[in-house]
Amino acid sequence: MIPEFANFALIIALGLACIQASLPLIGSYRNNSTWMQLARPCAYGQLVFILVSYACLTYAFISNDFSVAYVAENSNTHLPLIYRIAAVWGAHEGSMLLWVMILSIWTAAVARFSRQLPLVTIARVLAILAWISIGFLLFILATSNPFLRFLVNVPKQGQDLNPLLQDPGLAFHPPMLYMGYVGFAVAFAFAITALLSKRLDNQWLQWTRPWVLIAWCFLTLGIVLGSWWSYRELGWGGWWSWDPVENASFLPWLVGTALIHSMLISAKRDAFKGWTILLAIIAFCLSLLGTFLVRSGVLTSVHAFAVDPTRGIYMLVFLFIVICASLLLYGLRSHTIINNQNLRFSILSRETLLLLNTMLLVVIMATILLGTLYPLLIDALHAGKISVGSPYFNAVFIPLAIPILLLVGVGPISYWQRISWRELAKKLWFVMFVCLCLAGILLFIFPHKYYLVLGVTIGVWITLTTLQKLLQRLQRQPWRQWQQISLRFWGMIIAHLGVGICVIGISVNMNLSMQKNVVMKPGESVHVGNYDFRFMDLTRLVGPNYQGVDAKFNIYQRHRLLTQLNTQKRLFTSQQYAMSAVAISFNLFRDLYVALGDPFNDGAWSVRLYVKPFVRWIWLGGLLMMLGGIIAASKRNKLGK
């Protein structure tokens, strides 16, 4: 009964979404406030019914109700409870339900936290969000319903959740990513509302800013979690592989970053509003594209469509409608919101630098998009099968990222409207001098490691210029008044420091990592970098839904025992699926990484032994960026009252 009930709740939610999408929108044009007031209760109602539906699916997983096909395909009585709950979004149908649930949460949050908005605006914003909701609810009900049941031949036992997904990093990666993706729907709805209302004023920017920042923070966290997961589970110590799935989350992130900065110019200087709106639209379209790429099966092959063409085609049509409709509206209405009357700034000014920054971010996005979609295009045209490897992405990303990263240091230091080269040089010569000295020293220590020297220097450049900006700001007033410094400023400083730390981490990690794949017997010892890895012994292992072996490694540095690591090789019984559980000893400056490969006849094993310096800095930098975003999104302006 419960799955049918859940299905019914979803249909009611669809009905509410239809009301929310139509009446308030019409009301906003007819000035009918009763109709407009319907938007809020509908949003809350939708949230309730979708939550009920989602809770029922979770219950089906917890109670091992294998009559529900989706549960039978993705769960198992031996699966630990936490992963049974996470398995709800482990495959296509459930993750779509999660998408819609998160959308309804965001919608209700907009309804709840925008009391100061005029009724017309809120009615339009909620109506647009409801249109998106209708699109996804119809998609779920028509093509990927998670509540379909086996009425006869109910399986006794379910297949298991894909073992790769049985990891805390992955369990919480999709919800975070979706919070980010769907958060851009709010920015999109605000942008479309501005176009419909032909008005984009400072208030609009005030309202929209926190939503964009929070969405961006979730997306950042989602990407960090995904990277951390692939480091341990898939990538063999690689934290980013330019996989299409990773790119799908990185594309909206890039445009979201550009959007945050473009909104800053629009707010401070009343300029580039058209660009801001366009970025909001692109960010959401890329989120949809990301969902489409990851969830339609198109990535494994365009022709995987053939297995279930309705899903892919539905998504493609939906995407097409959203992109075309919003760009058409943009084309027709953008001139009504653009105001270039009092726009005066010099070629060297903070405006130009920020604008250049956002443009470079969009160009990077376009090149990554090209590399991601190109194989699909070729395949769809039956022109052969190709793949675009990570060398392509590195080759286009690194040269384009360098100018942006240099600008991160220059932008905040410069002035609005105009700054002369001489002033800029006066402000920056000291940090520049320090960075050049550092580059010289690094080049002396690590000859011929040019990428390392370049990357670390740029990272230090960002860090030092950001600290310089902070110092300047702090010097301007006595410390008693520091609480008057705006939270946005603190957010900017923290996020930019995060960028610097991330860049240093990436450069050191990419250039100084050491990896050895070796064959070892228990008792043998292998030297990697400054460390000795000794294979101590091997024991048999029986887990809840797997069997395997457990290998113990001692790691010595200069004959001193540093740490002991236990790494496992597991064989999941229900699917005959083997998996290596990696063992990592980490601190701020290096990771020691051990993973088992395959057994040999005489008791030896192939083993991966890696030393990964500074890898934590990459995620630490990402977390700092997120923290900066949260601080800047805060409603309160100052630290004190």
Binding site: S301, V363, A366, I386, L400, Q575, Q576, Y577, M579
Partner: protein, 141 residues
């Protein structure tokens, strides 16, 4: 030309130059890094490039896996059930690698016609068949 126009023009020129450099870089890099995909039959027929990296997909032939006992060298045969290609790989094979499994290998042919792989891909679950491999086998059965 007044000052403002001049500025605007400079700005537009910078943007256009930037974009064209980016597009140029992208297309050049794309050209260098495309890996074409072939079946073992196409490789035997000599259709695959001689000095360029490419990919082969097929099944690991039963009983063809030979591991060395001291090193990480392994030889195996990739087949599409009509023709075979011998593959040499140095490294740790993926967890899901086994005889009969559908896989994709990336690398180059050497002068003896042996494929020197620097990547062996066998992803996803045990039932998974890389779509390229499925397509190759599908046309034959």
């Amino acid at each position: 030309m007044n000052r403002k126009r001049k500025q605007r023009l400079t700005f537009v020129i910078i943007v256009i130059a930037g974009v064209s450099i980016a597009v140029g870089l992208a297309l050049y890099a794309l050209n260098q890094n495309i890996n074409l995909f072939y079946s073992p039959s196409q490789v035997i027929a000599g259709l695959a490039p001689k000095h360029h990296q490419f990919r082969i997909g097929g099944l690991v032939k039963l009983g063809s896996i030979h591991k060395s006992n001291q090193h990480l060298d392994v030889n195996f045969i990739v087949t599409d059930k009509t023709h075979d290609v011998v593959v040499h790989y140095h490294g740790i094979l993926p967890n899901l690698f086994r005889a009969g499994q559908g896989i994709v290998v990336a690398g180059k042919l050497n002068s003896h016609g042996i494929f020197i792989a620097d990547q062996v891909l066998a992803k996803h679950d045990a039932n998974y068949m890389p779509p390229e491999v499925k397509a190759i086998l599908g046309t034959r059965s």
